[in-house]
């Protein structure tokens, strides 16, 4: 670390609460909300077409806008832009140093942002999971017992929206931010302040989304189809604002990671030596940077339809609900690959370490990810096969959708090749990675049913779809996420997680995940539509079985939490620097990782997967004497 570091002044805790931090952000955010709601009311006065309904959407939106501004100003995000206008030189140092308070304020150290993401997004993931438990409670009975139908639908919307919003950055947020610079040999990300911003927008989006509960809920699912959502109550304003915030955050996450990976690789880190996880991040970043802006635009149109009474989506005033469906899924399908691609990256990163073999078919894996990335922009109308739009195009979208299974299949071939004649060690991260393949296999193959139009006429809008996407998202992404947690947490938090609890967590989660969602394929086949609080009585046995399994699945998450708390707070067994004997660059730095990662930018000498290669050079030279030409 550099010698000119600003000395850390120790001040009493109460004094440290004052300043630009989360607390100030909350206070200013709430104040901003009240101010904005008042200002919005003033704007709407006198424009009777804005007040044609029982609620003032202008007030709601301006309130949320001011709340977000207050939150960001309180965190200190305004200081730098203003300083720049005054011509002050940029400096990062005082945003990178400090003790535990760094985690509660604007910090530009990518490792702090990674951990902020891990816990921030994790909290919302648990809230979303809790909603799922409440939903499954209702579905124990074929008719509404636990919740009135409106509340049930709000649970569906909250669960779905929360999960989609938060898990979009489930891997790129914590692990992308934390490990990409370490894996490519950089000191930080290309735009560290933007990086901090992407995180701090996330809790704002989550809290605003939850505020929907107070304003009539969001009984329209995560897709918020027009005109249902456009005509809905105040909860829609929360949904729209939250989605805009998260989409801005995703756009910037993509931009930042993309630039970092392209420009900041250490010398010798050629494209063919790039860890496969980084390739996954790169492909995802492109999708984020291009697809998320379309969501911002779509949600802005909903905002205008509600607050300014435009008619993008209202057929009765020259608009079209189809416009919403097209725009939403033009974002929405790339979005599902935003959820899938990082998972591919993680599992392919984990496999070589625990098979002690090179990643089999590295170039094929890269081609697979890039192929998925490109194709994912060309399939969106497979969500609209029976919508009555462009029936003549259905064979085209059937073809493109099925084509995606070719590059996805590459990932499976990579895994099979890597397992071939390997020395497999069944560690916890490896178990999660292997479970990923089983789940994603079922998720992917069930997708083939949905891509075939005659079959989709049966399954569209049914629980079959619901089972399909839980297999890909929960079975894929979430399993990959936990694989990454068990793999990388020793480096991130510096402690060892209890292995017995981890194995209990894995087996409970794997078994009961399948017991929860496998029967739901049958429920869909038997004619149970999605998003229903009541269903045909003959499906009760099936649903009860699913609900009970879901509760155990929920319990397995508590086992994980218990493990985390136990290992982090009570046991505190320090982790070894490289407990898995991995060749990854991120494992060659000390634990805890110093603020600027590397004392000198390392020079990369060989690929990260050269296990078993006789006389393979060390991964990198950390004290390069002479400087080679730039590697990129």
């Amino acid at each position: 670390m550099s010698a000119t570091a600003i000395p850390v002044v120790r001040r009493p805790v109460w004094r440290r609460l004052i300043g630009f931090n989360m607390l100030t952000g909350l206070v200013l955010g709430i104040a901003g909300w009240f101010l904005g709601a008042w200002v919005g009311g003033q704007i709407a006065v006198g424009h009777d077409y804005l007040l044609g309904t029982d609620q003032n959407d202008v007030g709601a939106f301006v309130g949320y806008l001011f709340a977000v501004i207050g939150w960001l100003v309180g965190l200190g995000f305004a200081n730098y832009p203003i300083g720049r206008l005054l011509g002050r030189p940029p400096t990062l140092r005082h945003h990178e140093l400090g003790g535990w308070t760094r985690y509660f304020r604007l910090c530009t150290d990518h490792k702090v942002v990674g951990i902020q993401y891990l816990f921030g997004v994790g909290i919302f993931f648990f809230i979303g999971g809790l909603n799922a438990m409440l939903m499954r409670t209702e579905l124990l009975r074929p008719i509404e017992k636990a919740w009135p139908s409106g509340q049930y639908l709000t649970l569906v919307g909250l669960h779905g929206t929360m999960m989609i919003m938060m898990t979009s950055a489930f891997i790129l947020g914590p692990f992308g931010n934390y490990f990409v610079p370490l894996m490519i040999g950089a000191r930080r990300m290309a735009f560290p302040r933007v990086e901090a911003l992407t995180f701090w927008l996330t809790p704002a989006a989550g809290l605003i989304l939850m505020s929907a509960i107070a304003f009539g809920g969001l009984p329209f699912g995560w897709t918020g189809y027009a005109p249902l959502a456009v005509e809905g109550r105040g909860g829609v304003d929360a949904y729209v604002t939250a989605f805009i915030l998260i989409a801005i955050s995703l756009t910037l996450v993509g931009l930042n990671l993309l630039v970092t990976i392209v420009t900041m690789r250490a010398p010798g880190m050629t494209w063919t030596r790039l860890p496969i996880f980084v390739w996954g991040v790169l492909a995802t970043s492109v999708l984020m940077a291009l697809a998320a802006p379309v969501l911002v635009a779509t949600m802005t149109m909903v905002l205008m339809d509600r607050a300014a009474n435009t008619s993008y989506f209202l057929a009765s005033a020259g608009g079209s609900p189809y416009l919403y469906e097209n725009l939403f899924w033009f974002f929405g399908h790339p979005e599902v690959y935003i959820l899938a691609l990082p998972g591919f990256g993680i599992v392919l990163e984990i496999l070589p370490v625990f098979t002690r073999k090179p990643l089999w078919g590295y170039r094929l894996a890269v081609a697979g990810m890039v192929g998925v990335m490109l194709l994912s922009f060309m399939v969106w109308q497979h969500h609209l096969f029976v919508s009555g739009m462009n029936a003549g195009l259905r064979p085209f979208y059937m073809l493109t959708t099925e084509l995606i299974s070719i590059p996805t299949g590459f990932i499976f071939l990579n895994a099979m090749g890597t397992l071939w004649r390997a020395q497999i060690r069944f560690t916890v991260p490896m178990l999660f990675a292997l479970a990923f393949f089983f789940n994603f296999l079922i998720g992917g193959l069930s997708g083939v049913f949905l891509s075939d139009v005659p079959s989709d006429v049966t399954t569209h809008g049914s629980y079959f779809v619901m089972a399909h996407f839980h297999y890909t998202i929960m079975g894929g992404l979430v399993f990959a996420f936990f694989g990454a947690v068990y793999y990388w947490l020793p480096k991130m938090l510096g402690v060892v997680l209890n292995e017995t609890l981890a194995k209990i967590h894995f087996w409970l989660m794997f078994v009961f995940f399948n017991l929860t969602f496998m029967p739901l394929f049958a429920a869909g086949f038997l004619g149970m539509p999605r998003r229903v609080s009541a269903y045909a009585p003959h499906l009760q046995v099936l649903n009860d079985f699913v609900s009970v399994s879901a509760f155990v699945l929920g319990f397995s998450m508590l086992v994980f939490l218990a493990n985390l708390v136990w290992s982090l707070v009570f046991a505190r067994i320090p982790a070894a620097e490289n407990p898995w004997a991995s060749r990854g660059l991120e494992w060659q730095v000390p634990t805890p990782v110093p603020v600027e990662n590397f004392e000198r930018i390392p020079v990369i000498r060989s690929g990260p997967y050269e296990y078993g290669v006789p006389n393979a050079p060390a991964v990198a030279d950390f004290t390069p004497a002479a400087l080679p030409a730039a590697g990129s």
Binding site: Y225, N309, Y362, R363, A391, L413, Q423, I424, F449
Partner: protein
């Protein structure tokens, strides 16, 4: 690499393929002959039948693929496990162009075959497979000009069915004649719903301002379930009812009886409308 080790390579491959063949030989007939006839949505209409055929064929094709992958994985877990307890490097295999090419060709062939077959069944053999095709259908069955039109009008949270060729007669119950080509014209008065007649194999979104057409030809009489398959608000789950396929005489008798029953009230009401869209609203809700 020792010769002993390399001599083992083909044995692994052959074993995996053999296990897989056995499993497939067991699974495939079970799927086609035991599970197949029970796969949805049954055989009540030719459209439903085509969907069931698609489901049977896809299951019979995809389960063996899944079995191959699972067999490979499980075999590897057993045979390629690290038994030393220590960290031992495996052989440095970086890939094999031949295998990769074979895989690409195989998956590509399967995928293209699926797409061609799917398009063929959609367009030629099942004429849209009971799915909504919008106002100007492209996959029209023979004799569609003479199809019996039935308008399905969705609103929060009820279905109304209208028979234009029977004087615009409207009903909250749905009945259609068997062995007659029926054209459902699905639309909505308020927000998007989706008309799902499960056993008929019909699913068509009900979008305000849109006439979404789906064809169906019932093979035999019986009951079928109607559901709403697109979230439409509070009572979405309760837009369920039962419809009937009747023989043609029974169908005509049903209409006649219902008309007579309604006549008492109908004479006080405006005549049945032929326009199903509300006057332009500036804002609903």
């Amino acid at each position: 690499m020792t010769t002993a080790a390399s001599a083992q390579i083909p044995r692994h491959g052959i074993r995996i393929v053999l296990i897989w063949l056995v499993l497939t030989a067991i699974a495939a007939p079970l799927i086609v002959f035991v599970l197949g006839p029970h796969l949805p949505p049954g055989n009540m209409t030719s459209e439903a039948g085509s969907q069931r055929d698609a489901n049977v064929l896809l299951t019979a094709l995809l389960v063996p693929i899944a079995l191959l992958v699972v067999t490979f994985f499980v075999y590897s877990f057993v045979v390629f496990r690290n038994r030393t307890g220590g960290i031992v490097d495996g052989p440095p295999l970086f890939g094999d162009a031949g295998v990769q090419l074979l895989w690409i060709v195989l998956t590509g062939a399967i995928v293209l075959a699926l797409a061609v077959w799917g398009s063929y069944t959609l367009i030629v053999s099942s004429h849209g497979a009971g799915g909504g095709q919008g106002p100007s259908p492209v996959d029209q069955p023979k004799g569609h000009e003479h199809a019996l039109p039935v308008q399905v009008i969705a609103q929060q949270w009820e279905w109304t069915f209208r028979y234009p060729t029977y004087g615009g007669f409207e009903s909250r119950d749905l009945a259609i004649p068997d062995n007659t080509l029926v054209a459902f014209h699905v639309t909505s008065l308020d927000i998007t719903h989706s008309f799902w007649a499960y056993e008929l194999g019909v699913k068509a979104d009900a979008v305000p301002g849109v006439d979404d057409i789906a064809y169906v030809n019932a093979r035999h009489t019986g009951f079928f379930q109607i559901r709403c398959a697109e979230l439409c608000g509070l009572w979405h789950a309760h837009m369920a009812k039962k419809g009937r396929v009747l023989s043609l005489p029974a169908f005509q008798a049903w209409i006649k009886a219902a008309k007579q029953k309604n006549a008492v009230v109908q004479k006080y009401l405006a005549p049945y409308s032929d326009v199903y869209f509300p006057a332009p609203l500036r804002r609903a809700g």
